[in-house]
């Protein structure tokens, strides 16, 4: 193919310049490297982290208990700030989840092979992030024991949810998202669970992994059905990447509060979600690949590619900010102008606003430089900054819009309480706990897919000289050379 020819001429694929799988492993050594950490006794570091995560989880339990026992008034929410940390954290967590779906589904559909070694990781992240996210809308209701009224079910009262409310759309969006993400993650995990079963040394492990492997034997027929099913799930997931955060953005965009009432919200929220999601993947994967010794499968090239996505989505987010401010000025609406130019930029939360600008607008631009894209410490710090920035963005959108809306008489500030903080830190703990358990009990990298990739690479290497079967394989060839 022309592409191949060009590559050959150049000697290197400009888009795929670096190794997807460093060093050549056979199936056995891949099994060992990738499954080893499941069988190995967790190290001191893991236990320390796990302890830390459990401590944070304890805060969540405390915060939730206090909230349920005394009421949502234990939080800092007030009049006019009906929503604050609850929805900030909800949106933040949902956004973080987006990277997983994007990596798993969209990149699979586009046959971007570089996704292979990070998709499991990202999917797990999605799943746990959505779990954390889901807690907030439930807890933030005044009477969480009636929160099920948001689901359409044939109630004896004959009462239905109000389908005009974006919160009901949220319920559908988030529950669908959780279900599909969980299925997608689990289906992808089945061959590896079978590999774990087969390589397990104890009876209990064999039974447990065997149960979860659902009788996977790796037959051709299994693989055939599995591939179709996995692809279908990818197809179903794909719209979710766009829809979930679009619908979350409707919570704000359909309202009439200045700072919320904006048509740019859906694309800008989706981009923001991917932006923060990829940042979170970087934040987690950088230490994980070091301690799990996964450098060979999660290569610098993966990281660099993700940084490119961060750069791209970061620019979209910046454009979103720009448009918000432009439209506010262009509309001539004094409430909008107040919100964007007085309240946000110069108001009581101006510090948060400028932190947001620094983290979300300025930080990603360092990824124009290859040196920054490939430097592990820089990208790790940048990814954390992006996550902070995206949290600030949600804070700015939600809190500043509510604190000062139409009637100045009702304006009042918001400040979080210890319960707010403990629930937020607690969800970080929940997330970390689940993540550490995930690292411990299932392969963090999709072993079967890496093996498949390895085979494809080998195949490509053999036939590379007389053309390739697929563009993808061709790409991979050059990547591997």
């Amino acid at each position: 193919m022309a592409e191949t020819a060009a590559h050959t001429a150049a000697g290197i694929d400009p888009l795929e310049p670096r190794l997807l799988v460093a060093a050549h492993h056979d199936d056995k050594s891949l099994n060992e490297t990738l499954l080893d950490h499941v069988w190995a006794k967790p190290g001191k570091g893991w236990f320390m982290l796990f302890g830390l995560a459990l401590a944070a989880l304890g805060l969540l339990v405390l915060g939730v208990t206090v909230t349920l026992a005394r009421g949502v008034g234990m939080w800092g929410n007030n009049q006019p700030n009906g929503w604050a940390f609850d929805i900030i954290n909800f949106v933040w967590w949902v956004g973080i989840g987006h990277a997983g779906t994007l990596i798993s589904a969209i990149l699979l559909l586009f046959q971007q092979k570089w996704r292979t070694s990070i998709n499991r990781f990202a999917e797990a992240m999605t799943l746990f992030a959505v779990c954390c996210a889901g807690l907030f809308p439930l807890l933030h209701t005044g009477r969480p024991w009636f929160a099920f009224w948001l689901f359409p079910y044939p109630s004896t009262l004959g009462a239905w949810p109000q389908f005009r409310s974006p919160l009901v759309w949220d319920v559908f969006a988030i529950s669908t998202y959780l279900t599909v993400s969980a299925l997608f993650w689990y289906v992808g995990l089945i061959p590896d669970l079978a590999a774990l079963r087969d390589s397990s040394k104890g009876k209990i492990q064999r039974i447990v992994y065997g149960l979860f492997a659902l009788g996977w034997r790796g037959s051709g027929r299994h693989w055939h059905n599995y591939k179709i099913g996995y692809l279908l799930l990818a197809g179903i997931s794909t719209p979710l990447v766009v829809s979930v955060h679009t619908i979350v953005s409707f919570d704000f965009a359909t309202s009439l509060i200045p700072g919320w009432h904006a048509t740019i919200f859906p694309p800008y929220f989706v981009a923001g979600a991917v932006f923060s999601g990829f940042a979170m993947v970087i934040t987690l994967i950088v230490p994980a690949r070091k301690y799990l010794k996964l450098r060979d499968v999660i290569t610098d090239r993966h990281l660099e590619n993700m940084n490119k996505v961060i750069l791209a989505t970061g620019l979209i987010v910046s454009y979103g900010y720009m448009m918000e401010h432009f439209i506010a000025w262009y509309s001539g609406n004094e409430y909008e102008i107040w919100t964007f130019y007085v309240n946000r930029a110069r108001g009581p939360y101006a510090g948060v606003y400028w932190l947001m600008i620094a983290c979300n607008v300025i930080t990603p631009n360092i990824f124009w430089f290859k040196k920054c894209r490939t430097s592990i410490p820089i990208m790790w710090v940048a990814s954390i900054l992006v996550n902070i920035g995206m949290w600030c963005e949600r804070f700015i959108i939600i809190v500043t819009s509510l604190t000062q809306d139409f009637l100045p008489s009702s304006w009042d500030l918001y400040s979080p309480t210890w319960v707010d903080w403990s629930i937020y830190v607690g969800t970080l703990g929940l997330f970390s706990t689940l993540f550490l358990l995930f690292l411990k009990f299932v392969p963090a990298v999709a072993v079967s897919e890496v093996k498949e990739l390895q085979l494809e690479l080998k195949h490509a290497a053999h036939h590379g000289s007389h053309g390739t079967d697929t563009a993808a394989a061709g790409t991979l060839t050059h990547g591997a050379h």
Partner: protein
């Protein structure tokens, strides 16, 4: 003298009653502790009781009592140990208990039940009705006329009772002052009835006693006092008395004890007015104004729209003249040191120090001339007019002269007698007397100021008094510090104290009760029969609505004990008195029945003083006047808008009511002007040390624009010790600690020094500016007419925005309304911001009080709020505009479509209904409400209601649980109640029979409610009024509440010419 021994239905009474809340004291004699009069007498009483308690009886012994002591003052404890509580009062109104209450109700209703109402404390069984009287329908409210006395005025009230429980106070429409309205105090009066912290133990020092014992000891003691020297060693200290029956009792006591003396005291005395007018008219008089006839009004530091007593009638008449639909606007000039409600209504407000008011009064009087000239000239010599005020004074005087006898000059009670005399002189000179002003003899003849107590204090100090009977509210707290009442009644500091027996009767164990020998829990005014005169002399019959909840003793019954006569109930005392006054030949029973049902005794208004005023006689006042000390700051004491002088401090509705001006709750502060604060380098919330008159007091500072420079304003009524009154406890600071009898209202020579400490206030409104948004519209008549012209031609800037065409702005189809279209109109021109509506709403709709901490988190629950904005360019001297905002019931309600569970829905009559039991509490509706009128139960605010507090709840309105959103319902329960009646009678709802709670009580009738489907309804007319507009109209929410633009009527002579106002500026459009 056995014949004098009162019969206190002694059969069922015991000396050591088992029924009292305090523990029974054992009979074992033991030496009483040496510190007889320690500060915490009640705490000691419990200590004592603990020491004497018989452990074998309870099985708990000391521990039990100690825990009681710990719980003392907490409502739970007081509630739990309440065996003397009237039978059935704490039960839900069902079954037999309700029937018993029906009987109580009947008792208060009419003659048949009369004796039943006064059977306390006998536990008298009543036989349930075999046939219920026709007026008693369970579930239907009944209304009774009653009254409330304070500050020398008795308000006429109309009280709603449900199943025997009074649940709502409204003004009596028949009453000449109330005219159907009731202020915050009157409405919150009900809360004090049910206050579980009220005292319930009659005690001698630390030991519970029965009323009979008290009576017997009194007879024994008084027997001596009376026989010795005609009661020469007996003194009474009472509230300013307006009650004919109490007057009668007093005169009979005086007959029996000719040398006994009565003194009256109140913090907010009308003495200056009496004194000022006394010199002019020869007798203490009260000016009564008819503002409906006044075109030009000058207020000399008079907050006549809010300061008691006749303000409700004044506000009604004044507001009538602010409505351009009712004729030409009046014009109000106010000279005052701090922003008052009246100052907020002024067309021209001059902020001056209190001491400068005299110079202004004198200058205006001399410019008006005539009869006032002589006095004015003399007064002007004493007070130099500030150059800067000359222009204002000239313009006001010219305006007054031009309007002639259609003017009114009002002097405030804070000003000295000479200012009142000058005001009277100007009124005389302008010919206002008989037109806009009439002078009537004062309702309270005696002096009620602190200065009048000096004699009493000296007598006590010299040991000339044996018995001091205090029925005045809490004199130790509220008397100026220099009288030294506390030291006087404290045996540690007064060597003659042991000769003195102090008998104190009050609703609460308070600062004064700690020093009383005998403490007698008082009955609430809604628990006994009495009467009282209003400002103009009209007598109100005060009838009880319920049996005494806490075994209180009524004032008439207490005073009657001093007559040494057989015991009579307050009902008998009152009726006997009025029967004795009945004109021979008339049917007293019929007349009495009418008085009780209407609430007032007809033709009791006092006639105006007929004599010719002698203005020059007031020159003596000029000679007697000594100007206040010069000095850095002028200290100003003011009665608080919420707790008055502290007697309402335990009422949580009022504590949480935002101050009309500062919007502060649960606090008072030293108010400064921005300039003064900047000069003293004080920020809002700083604590500063106030030094004045050799005393110091730490006060937190707050800034209010419009306060005069070099003035510090200290509201009275806070800093209560809160012995039992836990609501009032340690809220704010006690300004009485630096207030003196010489300068009860203002004086120079104070300083403020910043300390390192700060204080956190809880305000309900933080932002004072409108940010140039057209929200609370407020313009001059001329500007409004110009806007209207522009609207007719090419579209005006403001009016187009607030009521212009919104074509195409709504994509959704409109609702169809086939029947009623409920709507409200609020006239900003009439609204003074007095907050009576806020309390009415709170009372009607069972709105919880959340406490200072929650308010500071901005979680106050009041459905109706009054937005207060300062306008104008000058920071120090702004104008003020009030805007009541509750749910405006949008036709296109933004809250409705965002609720995920359909908990807020649109009714087919246009109400935006809130379905509490469907609400899950996402708060999305509140976020999306541009008016931010929704209120969320962040915590379970109603959880700690005691049984008595629950009696106060309006059964027609759900008590909301935690986690539920709530908001104004347009009083849907009232709509439904009249709908039932209308349906039964097969007719539409009449406009007159339906009023929302806020509308009902509004003293200025600024709020109108009704259906827009009736073209003749007032609300329809108001919606179509030229001044009507919709708040945030441009959002397309189509509110059902319209606001009417406030118009100002400035004096052209005082308005600086505004070049930008003319046509050329608009040419560019």
């Amino acid at each position: 003298m056995p014949s004098l021994k009162p019969k206190l239905d002694g059969a069922t009474m015991k000396d050591t009653p088992t029924s009292f809340a305090l523990p029974v004291v054992s009979d074992k004699a033991e030496a009483t502790p040496a510190h007889d009069h320690a500060h915490d007498v009640v705490g000691d009483a419990l200590d004592h009781a603990a020491a004497h308690s018989d452990a074998s009886e309870s099985g708990y012994g000391r521990t039990y009592w100690r825990s009681l002591e710990e719980k003392l003052g907490k409502p739970e404890y007081l509630e739990e140990s309440r065996p003397e509580f009237p039978e059935g009062a704490d039960l839900p109104p069902t079954g037999v208990a309700r029937r018993e209450f029906m009987q109580l109700l009947g008792a208060s209703l009419a003659l048949a039940g009369a004796t039943a109402c006064s059977t306390r404390p006998v536990d008298e069984r009543m036989v349930p009705y075999t046939r219920t009287p026709p007026e008693l329908v369970p579930g239907n409210p009944l209304h009774y006329a009653s009254g409330m006395t304070f500050g020398g005025h008795t308000s006429g009230l109309l009280i709603t009772a449900r199943e025997g429980r009074p649940i709502k106070v409204e003004g009596n429409p028949q009453h000449p002052v109330n005219l159907g309205a009731a202020g915050p105090f009157e409405q919150a009066f009900l809360l004090s009835l049910y206050d579980p912290q009220r005292a319930r133990v009659l005690r001698y020092r630390k030991e519970p006693r029965s009323l009979r014992t008290f009576g017997e000891e009194l007879v024994a003691g008084l027997g001596r006092a009376v026989t010795e020297n005609g009661g020469g060693r007996v003194r009474f200290l009472t509230e300013p008395n307006t009650s004919p029956v109490l007057d009668h009792l007093r005169s009979r006591i005086q007959q029996r004890m000719p040398n006994a003396r009565f003194h009256s005291y109140t913090s907010v005395t009308q003495d200056a007015a009496s004194e000022g007018t006394r010199t002019v008219f020869g007798q203490p008089a009260t000016p009564l104004y008819d503002f409906s006839k006044a075109d030009v009004i000058l207020s000399l530091d008079a907050d006549f729209l809010e300061s008691r007593p006749a303000n409700l009638a004044y506000a009604r008449a004044f507001a009538q003249r602010r409505d351009p639909g009712e004729g030409n606007l009046n014009r109000l000039y106010v000279a005052e040191p701090r922003f008052t409600i009246t100052g907020g209504m002024a067309d021209h407000r001059l902020r001056v120090k209190s001491q400068e008011v005299l110079a202004i009064a004198a200058a205006i009087a001399s410019r008006v001339g005539g009869a006032a000239a002589g006095l004015a000239g003399a007064a002007a010599a004493k007070a130099q007019l500030n150059e800067a005020h000359t222009r204002w004074v000239d313009a006001v005087a010219a305006d007054l002269r031009a309007a002639g006898a259609r003017t009114a000059v009002v002097a405030g009670e804070r000003q000295p007698a000479i200012v009142h005399a000058l005001a009277a002189a100007i009124n005389v000179a302008l010919g206002n007397v008989g037109q806009t002003v009439r002078f009537v003899p004062s309702a309270t003849a005696e002096t009620t100021s602190a200065a009048g107590l000096r004699g009493l204090v000296d007598e006590i100090k010299n040991g000339a008094v044996d018995t001091l009977v205090i029925t005045a509210w809490n004199p130790i707290y509220r008397a100026p510090v220099d009288l030294g009442l506390r030291d006087l009644l404290d045996p540690a500091t007064n060597p003659n104290r042991s000769k003195l027996t102090v008998i104190y009767s009050s609703l609460f164990e308070d600062e004064t009760s700690a020093y009383a020998d005998w403490f007698i829990p008082a009955a609430h005014e809604l628990e006994y029969w009495s009467d009282g005169r209003s400002m103009d002399g009209t007598v109100t019959v005060v009838q009880p609505l319920i049996q005494p909840l806490f075994n209180g003793v009524s004032t008439p019954e207490l005073l009657a004990l001093f007559l040494g006569e057989p015991y009579r109930t307050s009902y008998q005392i009152l009726r006997d008195f009025w029967r004795g006054r009945a004109v021979a030949g008339t049917d007293f029973e019929t007349a009495w029945e009418t008085w009780v049902s209407v609430g007032i005794v007809p033709d009791t208004a006092t006639a105006a003083i007929a004599g010719t005023p002698n203005v020059d006689a007031a020159r003596a006042l000029v000679d007697a006047y000594t100007p206040p000390a010069a000095g850095e700051l002028e200290v100003n004491f003011v009665a608080d808008y919420k707790v008055y002088d502290g007697q309402f401090a335990n009422l949580s509705w009022l504590q949480e009511l935002p101050d009309p001006i500062s919007k502060m709750t649960w606090d008072n502060a030293a108010y400064l002007s921005p300039t003064t604060a900047a000069r003293l380098k004080l920020e809002p919330g700083d604590v500063a040390t106030l030094k004045y008159g050799g005393r110091t007091l730490d006060v937190p500072v707050w800034i209010i624009p419009g306060t005069a420079d070099d003035v510090v304003v200290l509201p009275l009524g806070y800093g209560r010790m809160g012995l039992h009154e836990t609501v009032a406890k340690e809220v704010g600071f006690n300004a009485n600690l630096v207030r003196t009898a010489n300068a009860p209202w203002f004086d120079g020579g104070a300083t403020l020094e910043k300390t390192r400490r700060t204080h956190k206030f809880a305000l309900t409104q933080h932002h004072w500016r409108m940010e140039n948004r057209p929200l609370a519209l407020d313009m001059t008549v001329a500007a409004f007419r110009a806007e209207q012209e522009k609207e007719k031609t090419k579209g005006s800037t403001v009016l187009a925005r607030v009521r212009g065409d919104l074509e195409g702005a709504n994509l959704l189809p409109d609702f169809k309304y086939e029947d009623y279209k409920w709507a409200m109109a609020i006239d900003l021109a009439r609204c003074t911001g007095c907050a009576a509506c806020v309390v009415a709403c709170q009372s009607e709709n069972n709105i919880p009080v959340v406490g200072k901490e929650q308010v500071s988190r901005s979680r106050e629950m009041q459905w109706l709020r009054i937005d207060r904005y300062f306008t104008g360019d000058e920071l120090n001297n702004p104008e003020m505009v009030m805007q009541p905002v509750a749910c405006v019931h949008c036709e296109k309600a933004p809250c409705e479509y965002v609720c995920p569970v359909n908990a807020t829905v649109h009714s087919d009559e246009g109400l935006n209904d809130m379905v509490y039991n469907r609400c899950v509490g996402t708060r999305y509706c509140s976020n999306n409400c541009p008016y931010k009128v929704r209120r969320f139960n962040y915590l379970h605010y109603t959880a700690d209601k005691t049984p008595t507090q629950k009696m106060l709840m309006n059964p027609d309105v759900t008590v909301r649980n935690r986690g539920v959103m709530e908001k104004c319902t347009y009083c849907v329960q009232r709509i439904e109640r009249v709908r039932i009646k209308a349906r039964v009678e097969k007719r539409p709802i009449f406009e007159k029979e339906l009023q929302t709670a806020c509308q009902q009580t509004c003293p200025t009738q600024a709020i109108v409610f009704g259906t827009l489907s009736d073209p003749n309804a007032q609300v329809t007319k108001d919606h179509n009024d030229e001044r009507a507009y919709k708040l945030l109209h441009e959002l397309g929410t189509k509110p059902r509440t319209a606001h009417l633009i406030r118009l100002r009527n400035p004096n052209p002579a005082l308005v600086p010419p505004k070049p930008a106002e003319g046509q050329p500026a608009e040419g560019g459009h």
